[in-house]
């Protein structure tokens, strides 16, 4: 059930059969959730981390007036909150954006895994650092990219991240997001996202309709986004 996760790991690191068995053993439970369900609340004390097996998850924070910022999206194969292993509670919530299958990895089992396999400890630390790198790239979008650049960048990033787990190809990918979800990721509004999507479609760059991203002109999309995948550390650490 953790095939996507193994694909994501192996895109950057060789993982031995013994290590694979040890990782499989820490995912002790599978849970199914409907879309739009908050599965981790901010502040709740956590004894486990959640591995997304299938679906889309968001990390988000709300303001009192109802304004919501999604701070990161997770695709199949991602741990949504490995940082809860050290933080023990989160400053943000985790919500399903589509129906999701979640694997539960208890922190006591992770502790035993890392003690027995120090190399895996470093690998999971690497991926937590990549999450922080994605956060920085999103900060760049929110602070400096215009609306068109933000939408284009999100489509580039998700294409690459889904590609690592075999869920996108050159033509595009399925993406179970609404315009509201996209607006909440990008600090925009649904009306504005609708407007930008129309411009991108009419420019022959990308089309987002019915839960699918069709990439019409990859080079133009990456140019609109100033997309450089270096922040995703696709080939693992250097040296």
């Amino acid at each position: 059930m953790i095939e996507s996760h193994l694909l994501k790991l192996r895109a950057r690191f060789p993982i031995s059969e013994e290590e694979e068995a040890a990782i499989r053993a820490v995912v002790t439970e599978e849970r199914h959730y409907r879309a739009d369900k908050t599965i981790v609340r901010a502040g709740e004390v956590l004894g486990y981390s959640t591995l997304l097996l299938d679906g889309l998850l968001s990390r988000y924070k709300d303001l009192r007036d109802g304004g919501r910022q999604i701070t990161e999206l997770h695709v199949a194969g991602d741990f949504a909150d490995m940082h809860a292993y050290t933080l023990r509670h989160l400053d943000h919530a985790v919500m399903t954006l589509s129906p999701c299958r979640i694997g539960i990895a208890r922190h006591e089992d992770l502790r035993a895994l890392f003690a027995a396999h120090p190399r895996l400890h470093d690998i999971y630390w690497f991926f937590t650092n990549v999450d922080a790198s994605i956060d920085r790239e999103w900060t760049l979008s929110l602070g400096r990219r215009d609306a068109r650049g933000r939408v284009a960048h999100l489509f580039c990033e998700l294409g690459v991240r889904l590609g690592l787990v075999g869920m996108s190809d050159e033509t595009g990918y399925d993406l179970a997001l609404t315009q509201i979800d996209i607006a909440e990721c990008l600090g925009l509004t649904s009306v504005h996202v609708n407007r930008v999507l129309k411009e991108l479609r009419e420019s022959g760059i990308v089309e987002f309709r019915g839960g699918r991203v069709e990439i019409l002109d990859r080079r133009a999309l990456e140019a609109a986004a100033e997309f450089d995948p270096a922040y995703l550390y696709l080939t693992g650490p250097k040296g």
Partner: protein, 83 residues
């Protein structure tokens, strides 16, 4: 909650809302339209030119027109008188 569609019109034509939004009532739909227009104008300001030629049409679930919000209505505009 009832479903509303918010279509955006400006000089380059109409962006039809295919998805719609579940909102409490028409006031909430109007607020969404206003927020949406402000978000579009904000992006335009950053590029140095604002175009008020546009509107958002709020439609019900059967796509019947309920309300129109002009871009100009979404912001208060104060321009200094020339001396």
């Amino acid at each position: 909650m009832p479903l509303y569609f918010l279509d955006v019109y400006n000089r380059t034509g109409c962006s039809r809302d295919e998805e719609g939004m579940d909102l409490a009532d028409l006031d909430a739909a109007r607020a969404q339209a206003v927020e949406g227009i402000r978000s579009i104008l904000q992006d335009e300001v950053a590029h140095g030119a604002i175009d008020f030629e546009g509107r958002v049409e709020v439609l019900d679930a059967e796509r019947r027109l309920l309300l129109t919000v002009g871009y100009r209505e979404a912001v208060a505009l104060r321009v200094e008188k020339e001396e």
